[in-house]
Symmetry: C2
Amino acid sequence: MSKGKENRTSDQAAPSCDWGSKAAEGKGKGSPGGKPAARQRTRLHRFDSKSYHWSGVKEEAYKKPDGSWADVVRHTLIGGRGENTDFHLRYFEVAPGGMTSLERHTHEHVVVGVRGRGVCHVRKKDYAIGLLDVIYIPPGAEHQLRNEGKRPFGFFCIVDAERDRPMPVEDM
Amino acid sequence: MSKGKENRTSDQAAPSCDWGSKAAEGKGKGSPGGKPAARQRTRLHRFDSKSYHWSGVKEEAYKKPDGSWADVVRHTLIGGRGENTDFHLRYFEVAPGGMTSLERHTHEHVVVGVRGRGVCHVRKKDYAIGLLDVIYIPPGAEHQLRNEGKRPFGFFCIVDAERDRPMPVEDM
């Protein structure tokens, strides 16, 4: 709680409704003391513009199926490899018709459009997101990313490494 | 020091050799208590693919001229507007022949290629950086971004909001 935020889940089990699995992403710290466990190496993740994959990064499920989302995959670019960063960088891709969970939490999201076009729903407003558009989703704001088009919609999502547990929002 | 990192400059004056001006980027916290000063609004920064500018974001000098860098501009996308994020997102653009300072610091950089091609020099190795390539620059590694081509080279750089003071590296 040293950083003035509540309900940190960094030391808790992965909540099923988190943006990503803590087991996969790690705590963002290399060791409990907050220092890297070993000298870190430079890592280059080369982007493949045909597949929208990065070298050395596996595609994973967005999170466990719970009926709140559909057709989303996750690539964890930064996080869970002993980095000491206070943030994680992930790429999510939403297939046509797919959507992330409608949820809210205290930590903020920064979303950057990477592939195709999609919709970022925040506090009952819809924002069209295209290539390299940057959207800041404030603390506590209910939000959802949707693909209403016919091609894949991909985006970076940057979050604090230590973050609170997302809460599902039942009503649209 | 609560996060296990040393020499934080968050409460210090902007070092001339930082990646960005603290005066411009702020502390990454909305108030000294670490809470946003007021309810934050959703912010959409629309990308202009012709100018490589974002709506609501001004182009600024990379940092004060000190002879260590040339032909670099900075756009602070996230940071200094009362956000509570533990990170800042900046876009830097290096004109042909330009370069950032050769420096090192404890905090890590995550660099993502956005425009054109450039070189990321880390620990005496050069990495070619193109669109959406992601490179992780580890703690303490001397590094520099250079444009050796004939077109602009632009990249995102994500850093911890609270970070230590960069130290110039004199010898190449």
